[in-house]
């Protein structure tokens, strides 16, 4: 198969370039990650992140034929050749497909991603009905791969001010948790022309999420809560 891959090493390259690779695939190679590992065997200077190889750790997010996704769960059979691979858009490139994700994680941390409940905990678990727990489905499964946020034009323009779809999905995950007691502080933290309201429902995030999650819907729910609060 033929691949065209973004290469850049600040140590040796003055500017990025696209490099072609022709790879003889084995019958056991099913996913794009298998091909990238094969390329690295031939050219060990090619750098990318990877770990679980089953779509749960979020390491190998990249831009594949123009669309963000995880290499380990992208089937080779579904890809048009040459397969064009670039780093996630909008983040500074450290080397090849490895991007600097500091800004992305900073936004995640900014929504206080942990349950806050200052009443002394009971000896046993805090109770939560199955229905209340159900509210967290479609939210807690996020793997922080950044496919969504780096496909979002609003995040490209304002990565320092707009929380982005991944961060907002998690913001709603804690708003929706009946065990959390700080819903008002959480809403205050988002009531801002940039932090939440830069989302214009473009829905690229929904389109690319490798886990099938829907940040736009979560963002809509936060907006609803803000409206309800002012009424």
């Amino acid at each position: 198969m033929r691949f065209q891959i973004y290469r850049y090493n600040p140590d040796t390259d003055s500017k990025p370039r696209m490099q072609f690779y022709d790879v003889a695939m084995e019958p056991t190679d099913r996913m794009l990650l298998d091909a990238l590992v094969r390329i690295k065997m031939e050219d060990d200077t090619f750098a990318f992140r990877r770990s679980c190889r089953e779509g749960v750790c979020g390491s190998d997010a990249m831009n594949i034929n123009g669309k963000n996704g995880l290499a380990c769960i992208t089937k080779l059979a579904d890809l048009q050749e040459p397969v064009v691979i670039r780093p996630l858009p909008g983040l500074p490139v450290i080397r090849d497909l490895i991007v600097d994700m500091s800004q992305f994680f900073k936004q995640y941390h900014s929504i206080k991603p942990y349950v806050v409940n200052d009443t002394p905990p009971p000896e046993k678990e805090r109770l939560q009905s199955p229905e209340d727990r159900e509210e967290l489905n479609g939210l807690y499964e996020c793997i922080l791969c950044a496919c969504c946020s780096t496909s979002c034009p609003s995040f490209w323009w304002n990565p320092d001010k707009f929380v982005g779809p991944a961060g907002l999905l998690q913001a709603y995950r804690f708003i929706a948790d009946t065990r959390d007691q700080t819903i008002n502080e959480r809403l205050d933290n988002l009531e801002d022309p940039y932090r939440l309201f830069r989302c214009h429902s473009i829905m690229n995030c929904v389109d690319v999420c490798p886990k099938g999650l829907n940040p736009t819907k979560a963002i809509g729910k936060i907006k609803d809560l803000l409206v309800k609060r002012t009424v």
Partner: protein, 584 residues
């Protein structure tokens, strides 16, 4: 050579479940802590755990820690230390409830309590029948746990060094551990992180086998570092082959599938586990189920074109149960096995999954060197450690429990030990860091040699062929010879990439140097153990031999030397469980 030094109260290496649980203990005690991780913490392999974490909460039916303890001792094939097992099972409810208080999104019962499901080897009333003891968040329990622990550490303002790889332990002449050398991947800088306490939570090394459920990053870095620094590795011959890895792909399918009512079929459509484990059938211990499957395949009753796999049937659970309790499994089967389990069975084979052995510790995470002496300043927890609670075979869901219990207790021990230390930290030896720098210099200066990927592939082939589910005497002897050859070849690996910036070729070469220590210790320990126990099954010694072999193996890198130490049969407060024949 000059090498920069940074000083901390404690350094934690690894940010998976046990590292994060330990770090939390340290951060909340206001210690100055550095947590190093090769990957962003939520990418650690704990994220891939699926089925649950065990605790005798008794939310679904009566249960108690003593039953859990019995199951764990029996599951370990009586190689687990009964004091440590009692400690773990007694602490289980406390640490699981604590995790719930941190915000873990457990599934719930109608009464609002944590949902629990049956799992292999977990029984009611000392083996009577399967029990619901596995606390679960759908089939993403590890993901939910890892994220919750990371989130709690964000709240505690734990200091992370993300994408830093620890390279070697720093010890002084008295043997005290004073920290680690480490590589910052983004810049290629090497530094000494000096600390009064060094806690390893570096996970397992399942990547020594070709067919593995493990992530690429599971390269036994802590074990390699410990072995090179003269610390023994305990019970390395015991590797768990998980019954249900996706055939060909290796990706894990949780035992929770069988906990929810799925079962295994051979090519004749026979539910063969009824023959091997009449009481709990498909929910027997993993070693028992994996062996049964391998036997079915060996005797020509495997499914598939070449009879190479077993079928895991769960369509009878119905789409509703599958989507609610096993959604991740459905996703994995569709992607990696080309089948939708709502309609078709999943092709599975026993696949390397978990390392029961590791760095010897007591139940407070203190590392034990030769003669069971505590190595001052050195702690370990989680899969890299051998306490030993899993013995010759780990029960499903006891790994996540291990992370929580021993991550916490190791953290508590560090806090306690550091309270007593007020004086100046011991000086670093003059040559601290030289060994690491010489290893890096070899890689940087080599102009020719073997590719790391080739040497690694040969290592995995040798392990798979000579040290798998079934082990044979001649094959083990040959395996020892071959793996020593691979270890020699490791000394002349070569990388083209000499760049400082995010050099992943260098990282992989260094990882391989850790893997090979694990492979070597495994093969040598396995060849020497002349009995069958738990996951170690020898054709020439098909039975357990409690007279000669109820003891832990201690492998030393220096000269491939082996020592043995007795199993601790005496629990903390209760009567010991006498070894007896293991029937499920």
């Amino acid at each position: 050579m000059a090498i920069a030094v940074r000083q901390f109260d404690a350094v934690v290496v690894g940010a998976g479940g046990s590292g994060l649980r330990a770090a939390l203990q340290l951060a909340e005690a206001n210690l100055k802590v550095a947590v190093l991780s090769k990957v962003f913490p939520t990418r650690s392999h704990t994220v891939a755990a699926q089925g649950g974490v065990s605790a005798s909460l008794g939310n679904e039916e009566p249960d108690n820690w003593h039953w859990h303890m019995y199951d764990t001792v029996k599951g370990s094939d009586y190689l687990g230390d009964q004091d440590a097992i009692e400690f773990m099972c007694r602490k289980a409810s406390e640490v699981v409830v604590e995790l719930e208080h941190y915000g873990m999104p457990f599934d719930r019962l109608d009464n609002g309590k944590i949902y629990q499901r049956p799992f292999g080897g977990h029984t009611s009333n000392y083996g009577e029948r399967a029990i619901k003891r596995a606390c679960a968040a759908a089939d993403r329990t590890g993901h939910a746990m890892l994220h919750t622990l990371y989130q709690r550490n964000v709240r505690a303002r734990t200091q992370f060094f993300v994408e830093w790889m620890a390279l070697d332990l720093v010890r002084d002449a008295e043997g005290r551990v004073l920290g680690v050398t480490a590589l910052e991947m983004e810049t290629g800088e090497v530094m000494i992180l000096k600390a009064r306490a060094t806690l390893f939570a570096t996970g397992g090394a399942g990547r020594i086998y070709s067919a593995s459920t493990n992530a690429f990053i599971n390269t036994g870095d802590g074990l390699g570092m410990a072995a090179r620094a003269g610390i023994p590795l305990e019970d390395m011959e015991f590797w768990q082959f998980h019954p249900t890895g996706v055939a060909g792909a290796g990706v894990l399918i949780t035992e929770g599938v069988r906990g929810e009512g799925g079962f295994l079929l051979n090519k004749n459509g026979e539910r063969f586990m009824e023959r091997y484990a009449p009481t709990v059938k498909d929910l027997a211990s993993r070693d028992v189920v994996a062996r049964a499957m391998a036997t079915e395949i060996k005797e020509g009753r495997g499914a598939g074109k070449d009879g190479e796999y077993i079928l895991l049937k769960l369509d009878h659970l119905g789409a509703d149960v599958i989507d609610k309790r096993l959604p991740g499994i459905r996703e994995i089967a569709i992607k990696f096995a080309n089948c939708d389990p709502v309609k078709d069975p999943i092709p599975v084979v026993p696949t390397c999954h978990y390392q029961m052995g590791g760095i010897p510790t007591n139940m407070h995470g203190q590392v034990l060197g030769s003669g069971d002496r505590i190595v001052p300043g050195f702690y370990a927890a989680g899969e890299c450690a051998c306490v030993s609670v899993h013995g010759a075979n780990r029960l499903g869901t006891n790994s996540l429990l291990d992370l929580l219990v021993f991550g916490k207790s190791a953290g508590e021990q560090v806090v306690k030990d550091l309270k007593g230390e007020t004086g100046a930290m011991p000086e670093l030896p003059k040559d601290a860091g030289d060994y690491t720098l010489s290893r890096l210099a070899r890689l940087d200066s080599a102009t020719s040699g073997e590719r790391v990927s080739d040497v690694g592939a040969e290592m995995r082939r040798v392990m798979q062929l000579h040290c798998g589910v079934f082990r044979f005497p001649d094959s083990l002897v040959e395996g020892v010879r071959k793996i020593k050859e691979v270890a020699e070849r490791t000394k002349s690996t070569f990388i083209k990439d000499k760049s400082k910036v995010f050099n992943t070729a260098r990282v992989e070469a260094l990882e391989h140097e850790n893997l090979i220590e694990v492979a070597l210790s495994t093969m040598v320990s396995a060849e020497a153990r002349k009995e069958s126990r738990g996951a170690h099954d020898r054709s020439d010694f098909p039975n357990r031999d409690d007279v000669n072999w109820m003891k832990h193996t201690m492998w030393f890198k220096d000269g491939n030397r082996l020592e043995y130490k007795p199993v601790q049969l005496k629990p903390l407060t209760v009567e010991m469980f006498e070894p007896k024949a293991r029937v499920y």
